[in-house]
Symmetry: C2
Subunit: 658 residues, 2 copies
């Protein structure tokens, strides 16, 4: 039936580019393959497959198959508590690495914890509490071997700003603290639920670029907040945007800065940054940067103690509660309107904490080549925060800086977290009183030197080089955090990430194909300028599933390719080679819905009015199935669907054959 | 470099299926093509292209190019007022068709308008007003030749239920009415803005399936609402869900139904449905169904008038204001909290009205093969509703039923809308008093017979056949409207439509490819069971752009294909044919972002640890560009990227060659 059209049209050899058919493979012709339609699945199988690919794509129950019940129980326990698995093969040689790594991250985490709890507007001991219970639980349930668990800067700031909007951290101290535990509880619950219901893929919707921008912006914001401690300013804005903070800093320059504090702060900041630089330059000296904070704390505390600098206005930590975590079950708001507030804040903080932890776990797993089950990891993190919320901890997660130190110090398993946890326990029980004279300026400089690592300029440059749209998302999140607030930055990051997905789905790419000389393949003529169009035939590739969101666009775009082509032919005076056949390469069209089939029908109708035959090449299994189901196949004719573009071209340009 | 691996592995001819390489084209080898990297575009060009494809893909300014200024002005005027274009070639023969069509739709619209204004809880004349001004404006500005403009059932119901939540239509009549005009104003403004800023594609996010379900559900809801008029019930629920309505109907069965009304209503409903059936069976008799409503009105009005049935409890229209549209500019809420309410309702009603009008315009344009510019159409509809809101009209749009009649009656241009508008003008000026005795039951039966056409069972069946997920969206919207409310149904429709897009983006398909016998092409082995795997090589195709939302999934899925394959080989005891090369067919991968490149890097690292070479086949222009920009190309080696899968297979299974 297609011959009717092609025969009527004057396609002659003369108009062909010299090499367009010199290597045509005529042996393809006798073997023209039919497009396969896969065996029809029944409804249940279809749903099951979709469900499995969506939620269980990593087949988490695979190892349970064909096992005895007692074995299944053991496997189940091991799945929840991986420590039962790797613990059995734990050895002394592994412990050596874990011990050193654990001590190193403990020395780093103690001063950081005290600083981060200030970011969250909580008393300093809460940071230490959060480095005691959560790492122990994670060690039993988590599957990452390198992550270091504890409070982190970004989540502390986020929690601090969000809870501060509800309660004043000084005047309503108890309510503030209760809301913090409530938020922690719901953060844990969110994390647990995401993992348990295998919805972990939801965190993938925060794109890498958005995370880079958000982290960078938050780091700047956190560093700016530290100016309060570093400069010894007493009256400081509660806002986090750069304009408010810089105004606070300048207005207090004449009477608000404490010069003793500035000297101590800046000196130790310089020392810490130098140590960081040394650790970066020479990987073997990473421990210099790892223990520098603790050394700074010890030296500065001693210095303040003997000089009584606190009487000259140098602010000090003053008091850290001694003893291990008290219970906080009764402090969580389980009823009332504060429940809703805690839930909202908890969900946001929990998601951000997850994003950070999962990214770390995946990075190190890839470096050491072991497997991380994202969903199981979320269950572990969630359990850890739920229990944490009942033992006076606030949201803990994996820390970028400490995990890197952990890795470099040669940790082998989560035992390094246990070691760290025990050191923190010792600290809480014995030496917290010694921190009384630690100047706040030191904590500020430790935080600054920790967060500068979150500003990943190389990643930003790479994003700029690779994808401009990603870069917009990155910068949107960055400037949103720096100039407005953490929440707005986050909102911008999520919105731009979604906009990108929608744009991809609404405006898929299409391309005109040509024949690559001396081969049988047809490729985008913009990518392969040597590829030659076939006279009388327009070949268009659609690069996406055809769905309601793009079906109209695709139809219109294909027709525009056609009219562009016809216009060009007219301009060149090549009236004889009028287009008589439009081949749509369907290889990338992974799916089609009713709107998509409508669009194809309309395309077919529009083309028929112009005496142009619509031909499809290589529809995939799902598409082929649906084209049959909707009778579109019989509308355009079964023999107008080909296995490859080459087959279709041979059929519709028969005079090309020598 | 790749040879190092392949040479070390025992890939022998023996393990090959007999026909796997019998038609290999050795001449491909000397001509192995390099993958093309398109010339680097500068940033501005890149942004311009993306912007153009997103917002200007139909190149609306094309005709303005290379024209003189006066010509540009004329073209601009013609673009805004297409009547200046087609009006110049308007002829008497065209007018004949338009006149007949215009009279036919006028006879249909007058009784419908009166009924629909009741659905919107407005006085009957407002329906007629809305069929006078808007069609005139549309005729000047619209580009569809077949659409019939006026109030429609779905939008009337939507407006009625939404405004009713704010004001009582009886007790707060004036406020209700003012909010209706405010909503109409903002509906128009929304439509205008969407078109003007070329954001028309946003309405494509309401999928065809969702619209079918929503329309069907709304039709049922509207029909149920008519039971009030049809059965002469005085106390009737204000809710629209089927449970509340049926309870209202049953509780009033003994004392609330008016039997005279029921007789009149049911008799004429039967007549109308019969007329509709005749019109459907015999396309030439379509006019029977078109004029049946007017005939029903005339006969029943006359009947009530002579029998004084209104004294026996048959409810009648009673009063329609005489005269043309009064101004309503001063009634629109431009300030205060009602502004916000009007805005919210207007945006929703405007979007739904747009969806209906654009779908109609596109359908008929495809049938008569002329072009509709969706965005320009929205500007026309928006202007029409903004002006309408100032002239006592409520939201007007294209009506499914009247547009079909218009088309079948042989309309040629929008002049048929002008004719209809003039007939409505005449009605308003002269004969409205005659409608005084028209029984409400007739209006109810006219509405029922009009909306049954909106329940498209065939479309639902087709959706079921083609795509089960679409069917869920369709039924979700349908039952949401029927059992809860119009808003909830709409929300469900939008939510499921979005979920589908997100699912597609998060869980793209992947497939293992095999060689189709006697060809050089590699296809999904599930679709083509005869396709044979190449020993030692696993070929995987990824069917989507690789973005942050799916990059982890894709990496893990590819690794699972690999471990599945390895497991199977182990089971079969084919240890010799260990996989040594993984080819990723990139043809359908239209784009990649930084997360995607990270995933590929991690995949490469995981594979390298297993001594498996990662090979890419046919990356598209954008992907090739980004792979270069990120230095991924040099990571895996430039010579491990091939033009086709076949080329890659030849290189990595060299012993296959005879």
């Amino acid at each position: 039936m297609s011959n009717r059209i092609t025969d009527a049209l004057p396609v002659t050899d003369m108009e062909l580019p010299a090499d367009a058919h010199s290597h045509e493979h005529p042996e393809n012709l006798p073997y023209v393959h039919k497009v396969g339609v896969p065996p029809k699945q029944n409804l249940f199988t279809e749903f099951k497959t979709t469900f499995k690919e969506t939620f269980m794509h990593d087949d988490p129950l695979r190892s349970f198959k064909d096992q005895s019940n007692s074995k299944k129980l053991l496997l189940g326990l091991q799945a929840v508590f991986p420590i039962l698995d790797w613990g059995r093969s734990y050895s002394l040689s592994k412990f050596r690495g874990d011990l050193i790594a654990g001590l190193t991250i403990a020395s780093l985490c103690i001063p950081q914890d005290i600083g981060y709890s200030k970011l969250a507007n909580l008393a300093p001991q809460y940071g230490l509490y959060s480095s005691f219970v959560p790492p122990l639980i994670y060690a039993a349930m988590g599957s990452s071997r390198d992550i270091a668990i504890g409070p982190v800067a970004v989540v502390s700031l986020l929690l601090g700003t969000l809870i501060q909007d509800e309660f004043d951290p000084v005047k309503q101290k108890l309510d503030y603290q209760r809301l913090a535990f409530t938020a922690t509880f719901f953060a844990g619950l969110t994390q647990f639920a995401l993992g348990f219901f295998r919805l972990g893929f939801l965190i993938d919707f925060l794109s890498h670029a958005a995370v880079v921008g958000f982290m960078g912006g938050t780091a700047i914001t956190i560093a700016l907040q530290q100016l309060k401690g570093l400069l010894g300013i007493k009256k400081f804005t509660k806002k986090t945007d750069i304009v408010s903070v810089m105004r606070s800093v300048w207005t207090s320059v004449h009477h608000g800065w404490n010069w003793e504090t500035v000297v101590i702060g800046v000196a130790f900041l310089a020392f810490l940054l130098l140590a960081k630089y040394i650790g970066k330059k020479n990987k073997k000296l990473f421990w210099v940067s790892a223990i520098a904070p603790l050394i700074s704390v010890i030296i500065s505390t001693f210095f303040v103690y003997i000089t009584h600098a606190e009487k000259k206005g140098v602010q000090i930590v003053n008091k850290i509660e001694k003893g291990i975590n008290p219970s906080s079950v009764h402090e969580i708001f389980f009823t009332g309107e504060n429940l809703g507030k805690g839930f909202r804040i908890g969900v946001v903080a929990g998601m951000i904490a997850l994003t950070e932890a999962v990214a770390i776990a995946r990075t190190f797993a890839a470096m050491k080549d072991y497997h991380i089950d994202g969903n199981r990891e979320m269950v572990a993190l969630g359990t850890m925060n739920v229990i944490g919320s009942m033992t006076s901890c606030y949201v803990a997660t994996g820390s970028f800086s400490r995990s890197a130190v952990n890795y470099m110090a040669g940790c082998n398993t989560a035992v390094s977290n246990i070691v760290m946890s025990l050191v923190v326990l010792l600290t809480l029980e014995v030496i917290t009183p010694l921190f009384k004279y630690t100047p706040n300026a030191i904590l500020a400089s430790i935080i600054i030197s920790a967060v500068v690592g979150l500003i990943d300029i190389n990643a930003m440059l790479l994003i700029w080089k690779i994808d401009k749209f990603d870069f917009i998302a990155c910068m949107g999140a960055f400037f949103g955090v720096v100039f407005v607030s953490v929440e707005i930055g986050l909102l911008i990051a999520v919105a731009i990430s979604f906009a990108k997905i929608l744009l991809q789905v609404t405006r898929p790419r299409t391309a005109v194909l040509g024949k690559v000389p001396r081969t049988n393949v047809y490729r985008n003529i913009q990518q392969y300028p040597e590829a030659a169009k076939v006279p009388g035939i327009l070949i268009v590739r659609v690069d996406s599933a055809i769905y309601f969101s793009n079906s109209n666009y695709i139809r219109e775009r294909i027709l525009r390719w056609l009219s562009d082509e016809e216009e060009q032919l007219k301009e060149n005076g090549e009236l004889k080679s009028k287009i008589h056949c439009l081949i749509v390469e369907m290889s990338p069209v992974t799916d089609i819905d009713t709107s998509g089939i409508h669009a194809l029908e309309e395309l077919h109708n529009s083309l028929r009015k112009k005496d142009i035959q619509l031909v499809l090449a290589n529809p995939g299994p799902v598409v082929a199935d649906k084209l049959h189901a909707s009778d579109f196949t019989s509308l355009i004719g079964e023999d107008n669907i080909f296995l490859t573009v080459a087959d279709a071209v041979i059929t519709f340009a028969p005079k090309m054959e020598p």
